[in-house]
């Protein structure tokens, strides 16, 4: 990366300082940077999804993008239909395009209800997909990896911790007696988990913060060599 007071470095530095200025208090510079961030983020995904998803998946398969580009691009479903007179499976992508357009109907107040159809589709696909994948990878596979021989302290901790943690989440019976004791031990394990995850998160955020200060003091100002 180029160092010093170049236009790009100064622009990035102003934006960085603008966001950090919120630590002082909510101020116009922060609000400008925040509004810019929201707009640029939306624009970034708008463009990225067009080129990475909609264009190759929908418009290329249907043959719509081929209508607007010259060259030797492969024929889409519409070209196959009208030039060769045969049905191409990719014509089914019309349904996806139609559902996508129905999703955009949400922007028109009177027609907003139409977006429930694609919403129903998304809910159905994610539910069906998660039903099997989560059960397989997050429940069965985790249980399988937990059943370990009691040969090391680590293995004992793993088995006891997982079972007691699960007991804590069992609410069909009052946590009393042996169940209560196991739930209590489960709480300890959960607290260790939260503490460790917290520590891990703090370190990752600190690393990002150090990166930004490194940019300001080393790349931009050149104070740190």
């Amino acid at each position: 990366m180029e160092t010093g007071f170049t236009f790009t470095n100064t622009l990035a530095a102003i934006l960085t300082i603008g966001i950090i200025s919120f630590l002082w208090r909510d101020n116009p510079l922060y609000k400008v940077c925040e509004a810019l961030f929201v707009g640029v983020s939306a624009g970034y995904w708008f463009v990225s999804l067009w080129y990475q998803n909609l264009l190759p998946q929908l418009f290329d398969n249907l043959g719509i993008s081929q209508l607007f580009s010259s060259g030797s691009a492969e024929d889409g479903a519409l070209q196959v239909l009208f030039k060769q007179g045969r049905f191409d499976d990719r014509l089914f992508y019309l349904v996806a395009g139609l559902l996508g357009l129905m999703m955009l109907m949400r922007l028109i107040p009177n027609l907003g209800w139409i977006s429930r159809w694609p919403l129903g589709f998304i809910i159905g696909t994610t539910s069906g997909l998660y039903f099997t994948t989560y059960f397989q990878s997050n429940a069965m596979a985790q249980l399988k990896s937990t059943v370990l021989p009691f040969t090391t302290v680590g293995n004992i901790v793993m088995v006891v911790g997982t079972i007691c943690g699960l007991v804590y989440f069992y609410f069909s019976k009052e946590h009393k007696g042996a169940l209560g004791g196991a739930a209590k031990i489960g709480t300890w394990f959960l607290m260790i988990t939260f503490g460790a995850s917290f520590g891990y998160t703090v370190m990752s955020r600190m690393s990002l913060l150090i990166g930004r200060f490194d940019f300001l003091f080393s790349t931009w100002l050149g104070l740190v060599k």
Binding site: F46, W50, G120, S127, G199
Partner: protein, 217 residues
């Protein structure tokens, strides 16, 4: 029609995925591939909807001169600042290549803003930890100790401070042990709980018992 058809779509699509898992043969394997590619396209439209809605809300704010409306102009300007170069001046499908206008804005505007925004969380996490880490109870002490070992074990000073301890008991090794065993045990309990919750919620959605996502009317 406004509620029944979406419920029918959800049920058909959801059951197709579940059947495909147990019967991965024709026609279910073909259907699964087709539905997944449709899903990706509809997801993209859903994110487009979000972006377009942001523009609509911002324009509304400007036209009504609502509170803080000048910032809405900056939001729209930010959107156009990356969208116009992305569509018109960045080489089409190679829009993310180094040196394009889109990449320039990504590197010099989006990237500093997003990394600083996430880095700011370090301060808020520090302030939250001050409140959470007061060792008032046994549970809070465990939270504090686990975080202490993990944080110190991830930086070189942790091993320097614990260099007098025998090999295997130094700070980084303690942190690794915590992450590999007690942390993983608790994490597994949470993951299994979440998985069972997702399975039951998915079934409720597919069967149409849960329909709050469709709203009123």
């Amino acid at each position: 029609m406004r509620r029944e058809i979406p419920l029918i779509i959800t049920a058909i699509v959801g059951f197709t995925y579940i059947i495909q898992f147990f019967v991965p043969h024709w026609p279910f394997n073909i259907l699964e591939g087709l539905l997944t590619s449709w899903m990706l396209i509809i997801f993209a439209f859903a994110i487009w909807l979000g972006a377009l809605n942001l523009l609509k809300v911002s324009l509304d704010k400007i036209s009504k001169r609502s509170r803080d409306w000048p910032y809405a102009i900056i939001t729209i300007a930010g959107f156009l600042m990356i969208a116009i170069p992305g569509f018109l001046f960045s080489g089409g499908r190679r829009f993310q290549d180094p040196g394009t206008a889109f990449d320039y804005i990504y590197q010099n505007v989006y990237s500093p803003l997003s990394s600083t925004m996430f880095a700011m969380l370090a301060f808020y996490v520090a302030s939250a930890s001050y409140r959470a880490f007061r060792a008032r109870t046994k549970e809070a002490t465990l939270l504090l100790l686990a975080a202490f070992f993990v944080m110190l074990g991830r930086v070189p000073i942790g091993d320097v401070l614990s260099s007098f301890l025998p090999e295997g008991y130094r700070m980084s090794q303690m942190a690794d042990w915590i992450m590999n065993y007690p942390q993983t045990a608790g994490q597994r309990a949470i993951m299994i709980g979440i998985a069972l919750g997702i399975v039951s919620t998915s079934l409720r959605l597919i069967l149409g018992i849960e329909r709050s996502h469709l709203g009123g009317e």
